[in-house]
């Protein structure tokens, strides 16, 4: 069964997920009625998405079949997967983070250039880079 997973380190606190989720039922943007809330810890150093959602989105507005919050998340802090795929994705993120500091702020599946994608980056291995 697919569900929404969170990588807290990647949440930038933008609240797109929370804001759009609130609008899906009545078309009103607010902080009420949302099934995902971003807890902003004072001091700005942590933003934590808190889910109260089974992943069955009221309306997929960008990618068909995907929860709206996941498809709009700019960093990849939210992803939608079954358990096996979730483990693979999380592993890909952790590996990427060790490969390049870019992935401190972005999930590897969000980066458009293949030369910086650790899953395809055979070239760097050949050059002796740590992967």
């Amino acid at each position: 069964m697919k569900r929404i997973y969170v990588i807290e380190n990647l949440c930038n606190g933008c609240r797109l997920c929370e804001t759009f989720c609130s609008s899906l039922k009545e078309g009103v943007f607010s902080e009420a009625g949302t099934r995902i809330k971003v807890l902003k810890v004072p001091g700005e150093e942590k933003d934590i998405p808190l889910l109260d959602c089974d992943g069955k989105c009221l309306r997929s507005i960008k990618e068909k079949g995907f929860p709206t919050c996941v498809s709009l998340c700019p960093t990849g802090a939210l992803y939608y997967a079954d358990q096996e795929e979730a483990v693979e994705k999380r592993l890909a993120y952790e590996k990427a983070r060790m490969t390049h500091s870019l992935f401190k702020v972005l999930a590897p599946w969000k980066w458009p250039f293949p030369w910086m994608n650790p899953e395809e980056n055979e070239g760097q291995k050949k050059l002796g880079g740590d992967v």
Binding site: N9, L10, C11, N12, G13, C14, R15, L16, T19, F20, S22, S23, E26, G27, V28, F29, S30, E31, A32, L39, K40, V41, P42, G43, E44, E45, K46, I61, K62, L72, P74, T75, G76, S101, L102, K104, V105, L106, K110, W111, P112, F113
Partner: protein
């Protein structure tokens, strides 16, 4: 939950002298004519601030405003902060974060702060409840301390703030407003005016919601918006780079291009090792701890938090490293130490200082010191050469600027103010226009930037015609350009060193960015075709507000805003003589790169084209009566005449 329509705009008027608090609706026709945020602020400024008043007096008004698209996930939390600058011209700046949507959800869009309080106060807004609260206990605190104190006092972590630091309390030149610790705005003098009113902070919490006129239409336009801005689909090469690595990548690219202002712009290239040592890559590798974003931004992380990992300043924390810091606290003062750079920049945020003021004024002081205009007798014994300074003394000097102590008092005036005081030819080393310091972008290699800096009503501010580099003209076909009514030869206009068509291009960039800032949204998002073709913005606005107007009428809102700003300035005596570039840019070629100075003939050629395209007088720059009539603002011509300003037909 109180639900508001997106197009509704309410002004909260607060008089700090009398303590009165009133709510007023913004006229609906103003939303059609000027949209919101920057547009309405400019209209309010012109209507309510009498010309010739003392900027520090009770008659000056500080406006903080958002607009129809904030609280809707297009606004990016943008705020327009506007007032009459201590320099006499219009002061207006944009700031991101989360304050805007919170203000809208509380039921307001604009705050007009009038009068002067007898003692320090802060404004507390909790939905319907608005109070002026004592802030004696906050006065003197840094921005970070103020944030912590207010959060402890108000408990709810969802409160949003705008506050000033000691610099604005002490009326230091160009001091700014801050929020979320590192979100700055209003560098043109807004912080000083807030300080002069003894208003330490604004705190807002709202629980309402925003309803759109046409939610389905909005979603369609939003998908188009994301297509142009998402990393995977944007056709703009800067989108993924800018929104992840960040703007300081330029510090490593600029030296090879003759664009890095070095040693107070005496040179335009820098030691490559130093430039690399302060670049984005180093920052991201060793300092960044976390991505940050403004409200509902579609980009991953144009902001970031950092902690200095080791060394003398280990553990120092801050946020945001933009294109400005590598110049102001890097090449301009010849500092290749990223730790020091981040400490200087982080301290500016804590004291509420403008990094451009501090960096360019330090650059000016260092040049004066090396030329013998300033000596150790002036600097309290401090060695102040380019790259030749004691780090602790430099850090202490930033504190002295904020508190106007010793040598810091001179530098607190900004480079122009300081040069006026000491004379001896030091004016030639000021990198400033209309009394305000430059930003990160060089002029002599990009003539549109030179023109943009010269004519900007608030002083140098590249966000008023962002981006400074040429866009890809092939993003739009000739047929699309015709459809948009854009009669500009883009190929010629994007030739960086040819003065032709710069006036026409700058005019379009200024109009379109005024629209983006009036919706409001973020000008850094004019990627892909969003900066040339405003139809996506138009559709978003129309679906959110229900205001039906044709595309050209929507575009006219931007033209009205740029005219309002010009009128404010000409009323205060500004004119063609003030539209200039710094002495160095107009008298010195860039050595080694072949970029010529922007001499008066070249500048005049571009100015004539710009003023003509705008329908402004070539001699006085006053908008002509025919132009104001075309824009539906003829009453402003009468107003100018009544104030003794000549208006050509």
């Amino acid at each position: 939950m109180k639900i508001r329509q997106a197009k509704e705009q309410i002004l909260l008027r607060v008089d700090l002298s009398s303590g009165s608090i009133k709510k007023e609706p913004i006229p609906e026709e103003w939303t059609e004519m000027y949209l919101g945020a920057r547009g309405i602020n400019s209209r309010l400024l012109l209507k309510e601030i009498k010309n010739g008043i003392d900027p520090y007096g009770p008659e000056n008004i500080l406006y903080i405003g958002t607009g129809p698209m904030d609280g809707v996930p297009i606004g990016m939390g943008r705020l327009s902060i506007a007032t009459k600058s201590p320099r006499g011209c219009i002061a207006e700046g944009s700031s991101g974060g989360f304050f805007g949507p919170e203000l809208r959800r509380a039921g307001y869009d604009f705050i007009a702060v009038e009068g002067i309080s007898e003692k320090p106060v802060y404004l507390l807004i909790q939905d319907e409840k608005v109070e002026i609260k004592d802030a004696t206990h906050l006065w003197g605190k840094t921005t970070y301390e103020t944030d912590a104190a207010l959060r402890a006092e108000l408990k709810d972590p969802n409160f949003q703030f705008r506050y000033i630091g000691p610099a604005a309390e002490n009326l230091v030149h160009s001091a700014m407003l801050f929020g979320n610790l590192n979100q700055a705005g209003g560098r043109a003098g807004c912080g000083e005016i807030m300080g002069s009113k003894k208003l330490k902070a604004l705190a807002v919490r709202g629980h309402g919601g925003i309803k759109l006129y046409d939610y389905e239409g909005f979603l369609d336009a939003y998908k188009d918006f994301r297509q142009k801005l998402d990393l995977e689909t944007s056709r703009d090469m800067w989108t993924p780079v800018w929104s992840t690595f960040g703007a300081p990548v330029l510090s490593r690219l600029f030296p090879d291009m003759g664009q890095l202002m070095t040693r107070n712009a005496q040179e335009m290239s820098w030691d490559y090792d130093k430039a690399t040592a302060i670049s984005s890559e180093k920052y991201l590798d060793s300092y960044v701890t976390k991505a940050k974003a403004c409200w509902c931004c579609p980009w991953p992380s144009c902001q970031k938090l950092y902690t200095i990992p080791s060394g003398k300043y280990q553990g120092f924390k801050g946020g945001n490293y933009w294109a400005g810091q590598p110049i102001t606290f890097g090449s301009l003062i010849d500092n290749g130490d990223l730790d020091l750079l981040l400490v200087l920049s982080g301290l500016c945020n804590r004291y509420g200082l403008d990094i451009f003021h501090v960096g360019y004024t330090l650059g000016w002081a260092m040049e004066c010191f090396e030329k013998g205009i300033l000596t150790k007798a002036d600097t309290e014994g401090m060695e102040l050469g380019f790259g030749r300074f004691d780090q602790d003394e430099l850090i202490n000097l930033v504190r002295k600027i904020a508190y106007k102590e010793g040598f810091g008092e001179l530098l607190s005036l900004g480079c122009e103010g300081a040069a006026q005081r000491i004379g001896k030819g030091s004016e030639k080393y000021c990198l400033s226009v209309k009394g305000m310091e430059l930003e990160a972008i060089a002029e002599r290699n990009l003539l549109m930037v030179g023109l943009g800096i010269a004519v900007s009503e608030v002083g140098p501010d590249h966000t008023r015609w962002y981006p400074p580099y040429p866009c890809n003209p092939s993003l739009l076909s000739k047929a699309e350009l015709d459809e948009l009514g854009l009669d500009i030869d883009l190929k010629l206009a994007f030739e960086t060193r040819n003065p032709d068509k710069k006036g026409e291009l700058l005019r379009w960039f200024t109009i379109s960015r005024a629209i983006v800032e009036a919706l409001p949204s973020c000008v850094f998002l004019v990627r892909d075709s969003l900066g040339l073709d405003l139809r996506t913005w138009w559709k978003l606005f129309e679906s959110a507000t229900g205001i039906q107007q044709d595309y050209q009428e929507f575009v006219r809102a931007g033209e009205r805003i740029m005219n309002l700003d010009r009128i404010f300035n000409v009323r205060e005596g500004y004119g063609r003589k003030d539209d200039r570039v710094p002495y160095r840019m107009s008298h010195e070629d860039v050595k080694g790169f072949g970029y010529k100075k922007i001499d008066q003939d070249t500048l005049d050629r571009m100015l004539d084209e710009y003023y003509s395209a705008n329908g402004w007088s070539l001699s006085t720059t006053v908008p002509k009566r025919s132009k104001l009539s075309e824009l539906g603002m003829e009453e402003l011509a009468e107003d100018l005449v009544s104030k003794g300003v000549e208006v050509e037909s």
